[in-house]
C-alpha cells in the first residue's frame, strides 16, 4: 500500500500531540509500520505546534516531506498558512469548524472529534483500534465524553 502522511497542527494546549499520538497508536495496533515526529519544548507555551504521523508498509524519515501530506488536520484555523509547505492540491484539509462545538460534552474534545472525522477517511484502520488508542491515551474518567466526541466526528459530514 501507499504510505499515508497526516499533519496535525494547532496551538499549544489544544491537544495536537495527543491527537497525533492516538492516530499513531491506532495505526500501530492495526499492524502498520508507523513513525511520528513532533517538536515540543518551547512550542508548548501557547505557540504553534505541529506533529507528523506516517504509516504504511515501510517508513523511513519520520518527517513528512514538503507537499506530500495526504491529510492536514487543523485544530486551529490560523495554522493553515504556517503549514502550507506540507500541502499539495491532493491534500485533504480538515478544518476545525466542521465540528459543531455545542455538540461536544466539553469543547476541549475538539481534537478527539476531529479524529472521529479523520477515522472515516482512513478505512484501513478498524474503528476498534481507534477506540483502544483513545482508551490508552486518556484517563478513565474522560472515556465517556471522548467516546461521544469521537462519535460526533464520525457522524459529521464535511460541508
Amino acid at each position: 500500500m501507499k504510505n499515508i502522511n497526516i499533519v496535525f497542527a494547532g496551538l499549544g494546549g489544544q491537544g495536537v500531540l495527543r491527537a497525533s499520538d492516538i492516530t499513531a497508536e491506532a495505526a500501530f495496533l492495526t499492524g502498520f509500520d508507523v513513525k511520528k515526529a513532533e517538536v515540543h519544548g518551547m512550542s508548548q507555551r501557547g505557540g504553534s505546534v505541529s506533529s507528523d504521523v506516517r504509516f504504511g508498509s515501510g517508513i523511513k524519515s519520520p518527517m513528512i516531506p514538503a507537499g506530500t501530506a495526504d491529510f492536514l488536520v487543523l485544530l486551529d484555523a490560523s495554522q493553515k498558512d504556517p503549514n502550507a509547505l506540507c500541502r499539495s492540491e491532493k491534500t485533504v484539509v480538515i478544518e476545525p469548524d466542521i465540528i459543531k462545538i455545542e455538540d461536544l460534552p466539553n469543547p476541549k474534545g475538539l481534537n478527539v472529534a476531529l479524529l472521529g472525522y479523520l477515522s472515516t477517511k482512513l478505512p484501513e484502520i478498524p474503528e476498534e483500534n481507534w477506540q483502544k488508542a483513545l482508551e490508552n491515551n486518556f484517563p478513565e474518567k474522560l472515556r465517556e465524553s471522548n467516546t461521544i466526541a469521537f462519535n460526533v466526528g464520525r457522524e459529521t459530514n464535511a460541508r
Binding site: F28, V39, G41, S43, S48, P62, P65, N83
Partner: protein
C-alpha cells in the same frame, strides 16, 4: 500483535533499554529534548535522580561507575559544556562498571540557545560515541554502549538529536533485569589523576581508542539501506540516514552506528565500491573531515547545510549541491508567557522602570518578547548574574544603577549560587539586585523538581534547599515577596531596592499555575489511594 513491540520515542526507548540492562542509577539535569529519558526510567521502576546541574550529575554517575555500578547520565547538548570537566578526566580514569552519557543535541534550535554539535566532545575527550537513527537503535545502542563501557572500561557517549529523541517508531523490547549491587575494589593508580598516574592513563586512553576502532571495523554496528550495486554511495549518520534513504532511493546508504572512533577501513571499502560518495550529517562537517583526512574521495555538504535540521527535501538539495534558499512558510504563532503567569508582573515592572535586564534560561526568557521587551542579555545557565556584574563594572554610574539580573529557581540552583558569591566578593561600586523568579518548578522543560522544590525526581519529599537562607549565608540582603500581592506597588518596590545600592536578592515567590495543577492532581491521587 507482538507484545514485545511498542511504539516509543527515542527517550522512552533508552529508558526501557536502561531497565533491560539493569542500570543502578540514572541521573541528569532536565533539558529538552533529553528530559523524558529519566522520567520514563523512573516510571518504569528504575532509580533516577535530578542533580542540581550536569556537572554534579556527571560526577555522581562517574562515582557509581567507578564503584562498579551501571550508570546513565542525561543532558541536553549545552549541558555537555557544564559537565565537560569531569568527562575529560573520566576518559582517563575509565570505569569499572559502565557509564553511558546521553547527550541530546538540538539542530535547528527548537528550544535551545545554540546548535552546537556535541560530537566534537567525543573527539576532544577521547570518548567513544554511538549515534542512533531511530527508537530501535536508541534501544539497541544503549544496551551495546553499556556492554562496550564495561568491556573496554570507558564512558560511552550516546549522541541523540531532537528528532531522534522526540520521534516515535516501533521498538522490540526485552525483559527487564534488576540491577546488581557492585562490590568496591580499590585501584588508586587508575582512579587518582595525579600527573604521574595521568600520563600512563593518557597512553591507555589512546590504546583503548585504537582497540575500539579495530572492534568497530570488525563487529561494530552498521546499517545498510537502499539497493546494492548502486553507483551512488552515501555515508550518513543518525537520523540523516533515514532522510537519505527516502531522498536518494537509488543510492546505497551506509550508516555507521559508532561514529567515534569511526570504522575507517570499513568505510574505505564502501567508498571504493561506489563511483560517487556523499557524506550526509547534520551539524558540523565532522565525519566528512575525518574521511577526507584519511585520504578518501568523498563529497561533503555545502556550508548552507551546516545550519538547521536536515529533512528529506534538504538532503535532496544537499546531494544536488543546490544552495537556493529553502521555501519559508508563513510564520507560526510564537510561544509566550502563559496567561496568569506570575513572571508577567515582574517583566511589566522592569519594562516600566526602564531597567537593563540580564536574563537567564527558562520560560522567563520569553520576557524578551513584546509587550515587555524586558531582557537585554541571555547567554547560558546562570549568566544573568555574572554578565550583570561585568556590565556594572564597566558602565558609567547612571547606566550601571539600572541593571538587574533575572533568574529562575531551578537555574539558580544549577548555576546561580557561584554568581551570588561573586556578587558579594567583588561587589560592584553601586551594589546589585538579583531577582529570583521562584515559581517552584523547572517549568520550561515540563515541570521537573529541583533542590528548591523539596521534592525528588519521583515527586517524593526530601529536604528543601531554601534559596533565601543560602543567599543570606553568603552575605546577601534578601527580600521575599509575592508579586501578585504587590500589584501596582511592585515597580516602586524594585526601584527602592535598586536605590539602596547594596547587594540584594528579591525572591518573587509565586507557583507556576501549571505546576500547581499537577501538584493538586498528585495530592488528590495520593488521597484516593489511601482511601
Amino acid at each position: 500483535m507482538d507484545p514485545t513491540k511498542k511504539l516509543l520515542n527515542g527517550d522512552e526507548a533508552i529508558a526501557h533499554a536502561a531497565r533491560v540492562a539493569g542500570v543502578n542509577l540514572g541521573i541528569g539535569y532536565p533539558g529538552t529534548p533529553s528530559t523524558e529519558i529519566l522520567e520514563t526510567f523512573s516510571a518504569l521502576g528504575g532509580y533516577a535522580q535530578w542533580a542540581p546541574n550536569e556537572k554534579v550529575a556527571a560526577e555522581v554517575a562517574i562515582g557509581a561507575a567507578l564503584a562498579g555500578g551501571k550508570a546513565v547520565v542525561t543532558m541536553k547538548h549545552v549541558g555537555m559544556n557544564v559537565a565537560a570537566d569531569p568527562f575529560f578526566t573520566a576518559a582517563y580514569t575509565g570505569v569499572k562498571g559502565s557509564l553511558v552519557i546521553c547527550a541530546a543535541d538540538d539542530p535547528g534550535m527548537a528550544s535551545s540557545q545554540n546548535e552546537q554539535d556535541s560530537r566534537r566532545y567525543a573527539v576532544a575527550a577521547g570518548l567513544p560515541m554511538l549515534e542512533p537513527a531511530d527508537s530501535q537503535q536508541c534501544y539497541d545502542y544503549f544496551i551495546l554502549a553499556t556492554e562496550l563501557s564495561k568491556r573496554f572500561g570507558t564512558p560511552v557517549i550516546l549522541r541523540l538529536t531532537t528528532r531522534v529523541c522526540h520521534s516515535k517508531t516501533i521498538v522490540s523490547i526485552g525483559n527487564f533485569s534488576e540491577p546488581e549491587t557492585p562490590s568496591y575494589t580499590k585501584d588508586a593508580k587508575s582512579h587518582v589523576m595525579v600527573p604521574a598516574f595521568a600520563r600512563l592513563a593518557h597512553l591507555r586512553l589512546r590504546k583503548r581508542l585504537h582497540d575500539m576502532e579495530e572492534w568497530n571495523v570488525k563487529e561494530g554496528p552498521c546499517t545498510f539501506l537502499g539497493p546494492e550495486n548502486a553507483k551512488q554511495g552515501v555515508i550518513a549518520t543518525g537520523i540523516s540516514a533515514m532522510h537519505a534513504a527516502e531522498a536518494l532511493p537509488e543510492a546505497r546508504i551506509m550508516q555507521p552506528g559508532m561514529t567515534y572512533p569511526l570504522p575507517t577501513d570499513k568505510i574505505k571499502a564502501f567508498v571504493e565500491s561506489h563511483e560517487d560518495n556523499l557524506v550526509v550529517e547534520e551539524g558540523d562537517p565532522i565525519v566528512v573531515e575525518a574521511l577526507l583526512a584519511a585520504g578518501m574521495k568523498v563529497r561533503g555538504k555545502k556550508e548552507a547545510f551546516r545550519y538547521g535540521e536536515l529533512n528529506v527535501a534538504r538532503v535532496k538539495k544537499l546531494a544536488a549541491e543546490d544552495v537556493t534558499p529553502d521555501p519559508a512558510p508563513a510564520p507560526g504563532k510564537p510561544p509566550q508567557l502563559c496567561p496568569g503567569c506570575p513572571h508577567r508582573l515582574t517583566f511589566q515592572a522592569l519594562h516600566d522602570l526602564g531597567c537593563t535586564v540580564c536574563g537567564d534560561i527558562g520560560c522567563y526568557t520569553l520576557g524578551v518578547l513584546p509587550p515587555y521587551e524586558a531582557m537585554d542579555t541571555c547567554v547560558c545557565m546562570g549568566a544573568s548574574i555574572g554578565a550583570a556584574l561585568g556590565m556594572r563594572e564597566v558602565l558609567p554610574a547612571e547606566q550601571a544603577k539600572r541593571i538587574v539580573s533575572v533568574i529562575g529557581d531551578s537555574t539558580f540552583m544549577h548555576s546561580g549560587l557561584t554568581g551570588l558569591v561573586d556578587m558579594v566578593y567583588n561587589r560592584p561600586p553601586h551594589g546589585h539586585v538579583v531577582i529570583l523568579l521562584d515559581n517552584s518548578t523547572t517549568a520550561m522543560t515540563g515541570l521537573q523538581e529541583h533542590p528548591g522544590t523539596g521534592r525528588r525526581l519521583d515527586h517524593t519529599e526530601t529536604v528543601r534547599v531554601d534559596p533565601a537562607a543560602v543567599a543570606r549565608a553568603i552575605g546577601v540582603r534578601v527580600e521575599e515577596v509575592d508579586p501578585l500581592a504587590m500589584k501596582d506597588t511592585l515597580k516602586d518596590f524594585i526601584r527602592e531596592q535598586l536605590d539602596r545600592e547594596d547587594v540584594c536578592m528579591i525572591i518573587m515567590k509565586r507557583s507556576c499555575l501549571l505546576a500547581l495543577k499537577h501538584l493538586k492532581d498528585r495530592e488528590k491521587a495520593e488521597a484516593e489511594k489511601k482511601a
